[in-house]
Amino acid sequence: MKNNSLRSNVAPQDDEQQTSPESHGHDDSDAGHADGGHDKDGHDHDEDGHDHDEDGHDHDEDGHGHDEDGHGHGGDMATTDQWNDGVDLAMGYYLSPDSLIGHVQDSDHFELPAFPPWGEGMSKGKLSIPQLSPYTDGSPMMGENGSVWAYQKNDFVGPVTFQPTKFVVLELIGALIVAAIFIPYAKRIKSGNRPVGRFWNVIDVMVCYIRDEVAVPGIGSADAKRFLPFIWTIFFFVLTLNLLGMVPGLGAATGSISVTAALAISVFFVVMATGIKKMGFAGFVKAQAPHLDINPVVKIILVPMIWGIEVFGLFIKHAVLAVRLFANMFAGHLVVGVFVAFIGVTWHTQLIWGVGPAVIIATIAVNVLELLVAFIQAYVFAFLTSLFIGAAIHPH
């Protein structure tokens, strides 16, 4: 079972891939079960109970692996216990945290159904992302078939691995989408004309809403205009990344703490720069503690403590900004992953006829919720950004 859980980290994309390479029968006992290699009766069917490929690995007609010591299930050997074992193993496979998170986390490839069609083994169903530099630092990790499929960190920028990942590509795509929408939109309304068309009106409504209901209330009407470009960029970039996460085969870049941390760090720098520009460095530092009309002796004791708490809070609230967005997006996609995993668990059982439709309905419902969450989280991120900037301009 442990192996099955770990194996799920390289979750297969289809039946064929479910067996390859991990179902090649290398593991002696439970590898033959881990891929859910049962028909709807819970049995594996082959002529003699064992197919042998050139490597001497066991396969049935569906390519499901069996070990050589008889762990494959012949039809006449099926028992309820074996069937249950198969379901348990499948459940352990599909519902394992590694398997579920594997579909949500960042990676060096996109997961696509059976893509490329000519791919085999680990490359099946994966669209790899070209890397900036060869990975020559350290020894490569070897796959089970002897191929190199995992890499050591390189030293492209010193000690930091500089590896473009799926989320980085999605961020680029998101940035291009935002630019492709708002540059034409700007041309349309540049001369003060109103936008024409449903799509442009929707964009117009959102632009005006962010200005009037997010930036102005948070920053103040006098200063909001200066920060509107940043607030707009943050909102529409986050929203686009959130919505890209709803496209099957892509992923939510905002479901990565690295991405949301970058967004929060940018907000932090803007807040700091704004405060320092407004009050000077010393003034900004001093302004972190509120003015207190209290006994001077008590003030000497309290002010440093409050100042420390406030400065600590300054960092914490920006960190929370990153965690909130990440957690919401990650959790939503994980829930969808759990629902879909139920299909994998029950695929070879009669339960699929009940579980399948229920999962589809539940997944649609969760996706609708995720659509709402995508907008809400973008709004929350932009609104808190406005509040933080406003707090830096108008301290206490």
Partner: protein, 179 residues
């Protein structure tokens, strides 16, 4: 072996745990965000702000123009209403004047008609009187002539012209006064 491979996969960055803070992804994200902000600031946000400001200014101007037009329309409406009210009074005065003029004309015509009728009547009476007088005269003259002629034949004396006239006058006088 598989475990090692998967651990290596995660460790290498080919697949990273969601809570792992990857510095390279963070740097990429910051660069992308900064680049996006720079591009949009020049090509989108600045024109959009200008466009929105222009639109707002136009809307404010349009609203102000509409307010002014409304005030002008209201003033014109008030003037028209006053003019209409004045026209009603004028019409009433005209009608009253017309009625008065008509009455005057009527009375004048009636008076003239009555006067004319009176004149006609008086003229008729005068003509009747004159005709009567003439008839009486003729009758008296012929009676006198007959009487004179008769008397002359009786008394054998001819009345001269003066006697004849005096006799006629006397007869007429007697005829008109009591005969």
């Amino acid at each position: 072996m598989l475990n090692q491979s998967l651990a290596g996969l995660i460790a290498s960055g080919a697949a990273s745990p969601p809570l792992e803070l990857r510095v390279d992804t963070l740097i990429f994200s910051l660069l992308i965000l900064a680049g996006l902000l720079a591009v949009l600031f020049k090509f989108a946000w600045t024109p959009i702000v200008e466009g929105l400001d222009a639109r707002e200014k136009r809307m404010v101007d349009d609203i102000e123009a509409a307010r002014i037009a409304k005030e002008q329309a209201e003033a014109q409406l008030t003037a028209y209403q006053e003019k209409m009210a004045g026209a009603d009074g004028e019409a009433s005065a005209l009608i009253a004047e017309a009625k008065s003029t008509a009455n005057d004309a009527k009375e004048k015509i009636m008076a003239e008609a009555a006067a004319e009728a009176q004149k006609t009547r008086e003229r008729a009476l005068a003509e009747i009187e004159a005709a009567k007088t003439a008839a009486v005269r003729d009758l008296a003259e012929s009676s006198v002539d007959s009487a004179v002629s008769l008397a002359g034949s009786i008394v054998g004396r001819s009345l001269d012209k003066s006697d004849h006239s005096a006799l006629i006058e006397k007869s007429l006088e007697q005829f008109t006064t009591g005969a």
